[in-house]
């Protein structure tokens, strides 16, 4: 198999109505799984898909990682408060995909489609 495809992207997402932290976390996991489903092999990723979400206002961080479709790993900075009521109106995303078997163009299309479905249209 040829070399791994490396895809890195940073995006700013603005929400028309503020999203609750729990909903935001669910949408981010949907996004990750959306990318993973399109790039998987027998239910696993031949590489990894990582996302870091930062809330600009407070600097809270959420780290998500996917290596298999049945499990999304997540770690949060201490300030990431799932019970936060005020809602989040914008988000900075860093997306890193390293995967074997897919072209950079394919990965880029998959990421943009999953972003659109999970975080932009929603």
């Amino acid at each position: 198999m040829s070399d791994a495809t490396v895809f890195s992207q940073s995006r700013q997402i603005a929400f028309s109505t503020p999203a609750a932290m729990v909903d935001l976390e669910r949408l981010l996991k949907e996004f990750l799984l959306g990318v993973g489903e399109a790039l998987s092999y027998n239910g696993i990723i031949l590489g990894h898909i990582k996302v870091m979400a930062k809330i600009p206002a407070g600097g809270e961080l959420l780290f998500l990682s996917l290596t298999r479709l049945d499990q999304v790993d997540s770690k949060a900075s201490p300030a990431w408060n799932r019970a936060e009521d005020a809602g989040v109106d914008s988000l900075e995303l860093t997306i890193n995909v390293l995967v074997f078997g897919y072209s950079r163009k394919t990965v880029e299309t998959v990421v943009n489609t999953a972003l659109q479905r999970a975080l932009i249209q929603g």
Binding site: F7, S8, N42, H48, K50, L61, T67, S77, L98
Partner: protein
């Protein structure tokens, strides 16, 4: 200064193990840790995760220290040795690096004379599939390691015994430990990692 080199395929759990290890080493306040984080992408994620844990992290982006930016690694080790001189320097390689090759590089060029140990993390949940498709890479990653940690034991199921047996055929008598870095790692694992004898 002692050097711990962590390798293993993409997403095998290197950062999770390192986070717990660094917290364990520094918990008593007696010893210090610095971390070199090598990521291939242009935008780092794991370096920020480790920094958020309160550790001094030197990021190396834009390529793999194994084959593309080797001189950057040698320079970073030298700089950290001269400026911070921590008790432990932990190096997280990219998931595409061959740990044995990086260890040779450090032993050849590191002027500090630090002892260097290579630890490779194996993803028990994906070993069979990764070996099926990427055998030369994943086999080379476990070869010439001083310690193997078969991680993600919590999700591997009964196949973990097959994985351990397969890895054993590659590494011979090298110690193989099982772990689940998603939870709390046991003290015995940390002791084995920092045992340089």
């Amino acid at each position: 200064m002692h050097i711990l080199l962590f390798g293993g395929f993409l997403g095998s759990g290197k950062t999770s193990v390192i986070l717990q290890l660094a917290k364990r080493i520094t918990a008593s306040g007696q010893e210090t840790v610095a971390i070199i984080e090598n990521e291939i992408g242009e935008d780092g994620i794991d370096d920020i995760l480790l920094s958020a844990g309160g550790f001094t992290v030197k990021p190396l982006f834009g390529g793999c220290v194994c084959c593309q930016i080797t001189s950057d690694l040698v320079s970073a080790v030298d700089e950290i040795s001269r400026t911070l001189n921590p008790d432990w320097l932990i190096i997280e390689m990219t998931g595409l690096a061959v740990p044995g090759n990086v260890a040779k590089l450090i032993r050849r060029y590191d002027a500090s004379g630090a002892k260097c140990k290579t630890i490779t993390i194996v993803d028990a949940g994906r070993w069979a599939e990764l070996k099926e498709v990427l055998e030369p890479l994943v086999v080379s990653q476990v070869q010439e390691s001083n310690l193997i940690i078969v991680n993600k034991a919590d999700i591997a199921g009964p196949d973990i015994e097959t994985t351990i047996a397969d890895v054993r055929t590659i590494v011979g008598q090298v110690t193989i430990l099982t772990a689940s870095a998603a939870g709390q790692l046991p003290p015995e694992l940390f002791e084995e990692v920092i045992n340089l004898e």
